[in-house]
Structures are given as C-alpha cells and as structure tokens.
C-alpha cells in the first residue's frame, strides 16, 4: 500500500517525513487514502496524486505491505474510484480513540521508514 506524502508533512529539506502522514483527519472518518502497490509504481502514484501535473508532484511516496497494515491493526482494502482504479483504503477502526490512532501512526511510520522512500521528487 503506497501512501503519498503531502508537502505539509514533509517540511524538511532532508526528505524527512512526519508521523502525521499516517493520521487520518476527522473528516476522513478513520480512512486513509492509499494506492495498491501491486497495481501502481510509486512514481505513477505520485503523478496520479499530482493529476498529471509534474509541477505539482508530492515530495515522496512511502509504503507498508498489506500484511504489515493488518499486523498493526489497520484494515487495508481496495476502493477503486472511477478515475483512480488503484485507489485503496487503510482503515482505522471507528472505535479507536485519539491515543490509539496516534500510536498506530507511529507504528506505521516506523514500518514505512524500514522500507525507505519508495519514490521521492527529483
């Protein structure tokens, strides 16, 4: 599962990424948008995020495997959209409180760090 890193969560020039990359907003309802790594190369995911505009590319793309996502207690599942067939969801249980969501974000960030940046803006 590939997660696009927003510029707002990668504010340092070194390519460092924040734990907030894996924190769903209240509006997201515990669902993080990701891309299925089996169907999309990281650079394709970045370009899709930028809607094809190479001037609007995100700083990086990170990822965790489906097994790792399951392992920490999140639920990954495909969620193809009309204009984005590789779209998927990394779902946090609705019963989780903010403490648990923050802790899961740390776990996912650490796993993603192990994999390194799958893609970074040239």
């Amino acid at each position: 599962m590939q997660r696009v890193v927003s510029q707002k969560f990668s504010p340092e020039p070194s390519g460092w990424i924040s734990n907030q990359v894996f924190v769903p907003s209240d509006r997201d309802g515990g669902r993080l948008s990701v891309a299925r790594g089996s169907l999309s190369e990281p650079h394709e995911t970045a370009l899709r995020f930028a809607r094809g505009d190479s001037n609007n590319l995100p700083p990086s793309v990170v990822g965790v495997t489906t097994a790792e996502a399951h392992g920490v207690g999140t639920l990954p599942y495909p969620d193809p959209l009309r204009d984005d067939f590789v779209h998927a969801i990394l779902s946090f249980a609705t019963t989780l409180d903010q403490d648990q969501i923050e802790d899961l974000a740390l776990e996912l960030r650490l796993i993603a760090e192990d994999h390194g940046l799958l893609w970074s803006r040239p």
Partner: protein, 174 residues
Amino acid sequence: MSQSFLCEPVPEVGTPIREAEPSADRFAARFNRIRLVPKCRPVGQSMLLQPLEAVAQLDSELIRHDIENRLTRLYSAVAEWTEEDGTRPSAETLDRASQGARRLPIAVLLPTPRGGIAAEWSGEGWTAMVVFRADGTTRFSGRSKEIRVSEMVDPTSEDFGGSVVEHLKRFIAS
C-alpha cells in the same frame, strides 16, 4: 592537567545533510536525525557527541534562534492549512503549542490532521512526538523496536521539557 577545547568551527559529525545550509539549520537537521554536533570538543578526542551531552546544550543561542524560525514556519503552515488537510488548529492550540515548544528539544513542528500541533523527533529506528491536541490535552508518544512510550504530559508543569528529554534519551540510546 587542564583540557583544551576547540570551539570554532563546529566540527562535522556523521554524514552532512546539506553543506550549504546555514549553521542553525544544519544543527537542527542533525539533531532531528540524531547526528549531533558539539559546540566545543576536547582536542584529540572523538568528534562523536554522546547523546547525553547533546541534550545538555539545549539552551544555546543557536538553538533558541532556530526555535523561533521553526515557530515562524509553523505559523505559515497553519495559515496555509486547507480543509483537505484536516481540521485547522485553533489560535488557542497554536498558542499553547508555541509556549510548549520553547521548552522542548528542537523539533519539527507541524499541524496535525486532527486540529492539533505536533512536535516530532526521529532517529534511525525510532520516532517520537508531543501532540498538543485540539481538546487541550497534550501527549507524548514514541516507538522503537524495543521501547513503547505513551503518556499524557502537562506542558505547564516545571519538568515538562525535562521529562520529554528523558524519554528521548532512552530512544537515542536504544
């Protein structure tokens, strides 16, 4: 025998991240990667700084200057925050975080998608953060393969900065 020290220039430690960065940013970038730079070092000794010594340097002018820069960047990030990014931190949360961040080791400061402000640190194999939440609570949490810490903290308490430093030392040493 008295020990002599080299104080200028600041020696390189670890892999330089960006040679062209101003010294304050270089220092901060290294701190966040736990590639620490001593202001002074004994002549002839290792240039690697032990984490405990590094934490003791938090009151330097250089770091104070950097904290103000980082707060300025945080204010910009909040100003540019959009609905798509999540809940915008309130003025109260921003104020609380600004006060709290001045008492913490240099951190990356940024809004969270849930209306809070996070101060984050990370090194190889570990990550930690203090989140000043929208509901007025503040929480420290950190993870490495060996250590898991999660606890509510009080940014107005006398030992707020000290307790966070103690946690970070454990992660640095892990």
